[in-house]
Symmetry: C2
Subunit: 247 residues, 2 copies
């Protein structure tokens, strides 16, 4: 079976989903991208439902969002999404965000692995119950976000320490990936957002964080407006690496 | 003009909107109630858009949510909402939450004021540009949630202190009302939620909290399973009073 169908989903920026500037908040935007990924996978037979019946589960590994602008309250926008390639045990899923006139206002790049729930080992994407995953790929060689970067932070002085609470958890009991995005953006004061816009956010999920964990956020400006961030759990493991680019 | 139409809106518990138990999170549920209020007001000509053209703005004062159960991932539910009464400068808006079979699984009670954006004084609800607000009321004398309670906390030892960050803000630059709900529920450890369900949450918004504010949460169990909470900003003002009832 070959499908060439990209998923296309229309949204409206609803009241109560905006940030303090009246633009859709980064977290609500991130959540919408995840929902689109899920809907498109589901419509093509490799969603969370079908895969969990096979004891397989999608694990979210990277997310890069680049926005020229975010839509404002009441504005309509459209998200297009499709898986574009496989590398090792991972698959890349791309996103385009268009305004009401069809103009691209943002893009995203995400990396997922399909793992066996019992063994925690990655599944063979060429040999799935639904057929080889390559059947679903729509390559995008000219996509402007070319892939994950390397994020290093040398600072040993945390910029912020916070505790993971119950409301931060996802259905698996881990600090949820979109709340992590919020926590990263919370490292910058209100004044920064009053004069600069975030152009790009990159998140590289390393290890899960759990309720009650003390999360230390280390931050370093590696170029003007480019901030690398590392989140460590207690004294030890890195749970997340991130980069925030202002314009 | 008289309208007898309650607003009726159908939803599905989307992936990524659940808590760690696979039930729609309290915050997503709260947000949906606010959206329903907004849609119903908009459809009847007294929404945020029309009112802001008149330099009037709805201010949210109280929210009480009582759930027998919360719907789970993939489950369909319906929210019915209508304004039921006016008292002083306030109006009461009620909600019923029904499962896919039409059975009521929860209810909510909210209190709103309409204020003049410039003078910050409450508007006369009997004399609005859209006509007297009484035209829209559908009384519900038998509604089981009868009104706000009195919430007192004697404790002087904060149970938790946290800082308001950028991601906590709403479009007005205040800590958003639904994030406040999450913060209140975060006062209880994961173990509590593993053995007990929240039956009722009441929030009484006092003063606005702003980005950078240090919020101190005081908590007291006034009866078994009934917790009163008071949130103070820095050394002073109470920003929120709340009650959480477990069953």
């Amino acid at each position: 079976m070959t499908t060439d169908t990209k998923g296309r989903y229309r949204f409206n920026v609803e009241p109560f989903t905006e940030d303090f500037q009246g633009l859709i908040s980064w977290s609500n935007l991130g959540n919408i991208l995840l929902r689109c990924a899920q809907m498109h996978a589901e419509n093509n037979g490799f969603g969370f439902g079908p895969m969990s019946r096979e004891q397989l589960s999608w694990v979210f590994s990277r997310l890069i969002i680049e926005m020229d602008r975010r839509p404002h309250t009441g504005e309509t926008f459209e998200v297009t999404t499709w898986p574009s390639e496989i590398f090792r045990q991972f698959t890349v899923r791309l996103f385009e965000v268009r305004d009401g006139e069809g103009i691209i206002i943002g893009r995203a790049y995400s990396v997922w692995a399909l793992i066996d729930i019992n063994s925690r080992q990655p599944a063979d994407l060429m040999n799935l119950p639904t057929g080889p995953f390559t059947d679903y790929l729509i390559p995008a060689p000219d996509f402007p976000i070319t892939g994950p970067g390397r994020i290093r932070v040398k600072s040993e002085q945390p910029a912020l320490t916070r505790t993971a609470h119950v409301s931060d958890l996802d259905i698996n009991g881990h600090v949820n990936s979109i709340r992590s995005l919020e926590m990263v953006l919370d490292l910058f004061p209100l004044e920064t957002y009053q004069t600069q816009q975030v152009h790009k956010v990159e998140l590289a999920y390393a290890k899960e964080a759990f309720c009650g964990d003390t999360l230390q956020f280390f931050k370093e400006e590696v170029q003007p407006g480019v901030h690398n961030i590392e989140v460590r759990r207690g004294e030890g493991d890195v749970t997340l690496r991130a980069q925030v680019v202002f314009k």
